[in-house]
């Protein structure tokens, strides 16, 4: 007897904007979890309770520097692995990296203005959280068309958007800093808002072509969030 096999569960490709909505929902959920965890680290609690000391601020800058340097590098590495069909997106990656790749100088200048020695911040061993975070991001950036790194950008830009302003305000209050001692966090508080709008546009473009990338984007966001938290925890342990 011939049995004609009929696929039991044919799932049609999800039409947009479902894929975009779903991805943004899941990213928002990853973010809200991450945000709470960041707020509850001992180091960040000290900032928000206004108990931060000048040494804490210096150590925050020192531990942040390597990640800021690596940021522009993994984004350009990712750009170099974007195939020519996605040349427009490659342009965006390169431009984004170009905007931020000298930000570490701002951070170094803050460090010196706040009383640290340039030699100390330059020669410091990288925070071990930064080291794993960067290793992971470079690993993803080495894949062909590594657009899942949008998940990482969502987390890292989100920090600028949600935290940089809060931190800058609290740090200023607790330490009575002058303008030239707090340029980096202020700059990110002001500029990372625009990046989020651009992020959503790029995400929409990519999901339009590759709706199946959603899970991988969310996964990369989760790993980035976990490792970023480690970086913050390590400030305290160093």
């Amino acid at each position: 007897m011939n049995v004609i096999s009929i696929p039991q569960t044919f799932v049609p490709p999800a039409p947009l904007p479902w894929a975009l909505h779903s991805t943004l929902r899941r990213l928002a959920s990853v973010w809200s979890d991450f945000e709470s965890q960041v707020q509850n680290t001992a180091f960040i609690r000290r900032i928000s309770e206004g108990k931060m000391r000048r040494d804490d601020y210096l150590s925050m800058l020192l531990h942040h520097r390597q990640q800021v340097i690596d940021g522009a590098c993994w984004i350009t590495r990712a750009a170099s692995n974007v195939t020519i069909e996605f040349a427009d997106l490659r342009t965006k990656f390169i431009k984004h990296a170009a905007t931020e790749h000298l930000d570490y100088k701002m951070l170094e200048a803050d460090y010196v203005a706040a009383g640290g020695a340039l030699a100390d911040i330059i020669s410091a061993q990288p925070n071990i959280g930064t080291e794993v975070l960067s290793s992971f991001l470079f690993h993803r950036a080495n894949q062909p068309d590594p657009f899942d790194l949008l998940g990482a950008m969502f987390i890292i830009e989100g920090l600028g958007r949600s935290f940089a302003g809060q931190w800058a305000e609290k740090i200023e209050e607790s330490l009575s800093l002058q303008d030239d001692q707090l340029t980096f966090y202020r700059h990110h508080a002001e500029h990372d808002q625009d990046h989020m709008a651009e992020f959503e546009e790029v995400l929409a473009d990519i999901l339009n072509i590759l709706p199946d990338l959603s899970d991988r984007i969310v996964q990369t966001a989760k790993v980035t969030a976990r490792l970023y938290l480690l970086q913050i925890e390590e400030i305290e342990r160093a």
Binding site: S22, L24, R25, S29, E35, S36
Partner: protein
């Protein structure tokens, strides 16, 4: 498993509606500074009228338990079943009349009905959802056939000037601040109730309970709306009962009801994240909701959150929001049942329509939802 229905709803709002100009006569005057803060609070919370169980001189003839019992009697008066068949009562409140025993016993006593199983739920606004969930599950598992929930508050007695006075001159916690005045000018008195059964009404609409979801985020937040300690962080969290005597605790403001606003705003993204998880999991389908009852005003949602909900396809259009916070006041745990009662009484509900109730609790970050289908 049984299917569970809300078959009747009741609400009890003591006295006449009190408007914004009259309200200070009831909660008492704490001076011009407090009045100025009060005006700012009223612009923020949007409440136009509310009810108080106290008289302008601070006296009262009623109790929180009475308010709950009245609300439940009104529900049973509209019900096809009878108060005599009630065998499970779950009560919710923020602060009962006594420290001991439980509010459930007090409400049962005030009802004066036959012996039954009771449960007392004490939290803040979401205590109503806790009590509701317990009643729902009691029926669902077949333990009882008729259950009731009451949620009631008598907040005004906490807001009289005497609760803010001290013999310690110039003690800063007693200077009117947004932290204390917000609640004084926002919360008022009232009770709501629901009758739940394992069968729907034969002579009118019922609300089938689809599910109840409640989650605490106390793992990541300090107390935000609190009473019983001087502050919500550090050494000042010492419980009022750890002082030498209750007077010593009162003297340093440990007995005032307070709200930490900075912390409140940090809860919004967490609540939004929980809601988006429910949408993503398919439990909430924003497009299918006919009536959204938030214990919260759309006005204070904030542009950023509205934008987040819109771009994630999760926003329920504002024309489907139903609330009576502006006319009935914010009655804490009771609000959601007072809203549901008015919706059930005044709207022409059609079978198949979906109702989603949303109760966030700032106490220490709880979020809760109840979904119904009209049958």
């Amino acid at each position: 498993m049984e299917t569970v229905y809300v078959t009747a709803l009741g609400s009890h709002l003591p006295g006449d509606p009190v408007n914004n100009k009259e309200m200070e006569a009831y909660i008492g005057s704490r001076g011009p500074e407090a009045r100025k803060l009060g005006a700012a609070v009223l612009r923020k919370n949007g409440v136009k009228t509310r009810h108080y169980a106290i008289e302008p001189d601070g006296s009262t003839e009623t109790t929180n338990a009475d308010i709950a019992a009245q609300a439940l009697k009104k529900a049973f008066a509209k019900s096809e079943t009878d108060l005599g068949r009630l065998s499970y009562l779950a009560t919710a409140t923020t602060q009962g009349d006594y420290l001991v025993p439980g509010h459930g016993s007090a409400v049962h006593g005030a009802l004066g009905t036959r012996p039954m199983e009771v449960a007392s739920f004490q939290s803040v606004c979401a205590s109503s959802a806790m009590a509701f969930k317990s009643a729902y599950l009691q029926l669902k598992t077949g333990e009882h056939e008729v259950a009731a929930v009451t949620a009631s508050e008598f907040s005004s007695r906490w807001f009289r000037p005497g609760f803010y006075e001290t013999s310690i001159a110039s003690y800063e916690a007693y200077t009117p601040s947004f932290e204390t005045e917000f609640l004084r000018w926002t919360l008022s008195d009232g009770g709501g109730s629901a009758v739940l059964e394992t069968r729907p009404n034969e002579h009118g609409a019922s609300l089938r309970v689809d599910w109840v979801d409640l989650c605490s985020y106390a793992d990541r937040f300090d107390p935000c709306m609190y009473a019983g300690s001087v502050s919500n962080a550090g050494a000042a969290t010492k419980p009022w009962s750890h002082y030498g005597d209750p007077v010593a605790a009162a003297e340093v403001s440990a007995l005032q009801l307070k709200q930490d606003f900075e912390l409140l705003y940090k809860m919004f993204p967490v609540w939004a994240g929980h809601y988006l998880d429910l949408v993503e999991a398919g439990r909430i389908d924003p497009a299918s909701i006919d009536y959204f009852l938030p214990h919260y005003s759309a006005k204070s949602l904030g542009e950023e959150l509205k934008r987040l909900l819109a771009r994630t396809g999760a926003m329920i259009p504002e024309e489907r929001w139903f609330t009576n916070l502006a006319s009935k006041g914010n009655t804490g745990s009771a609000s959601i049942l007072i809203m549901l009662e008015e919706l059930f009484r005044t709207k022409d509900l059609k079978p198949g329509q979906k109702i989603l109730c949303f109760v966030p609790e700032s106490g220490r970050a709880i979020i809760s939802f109840i979904q119904f289908t009209v049958v």
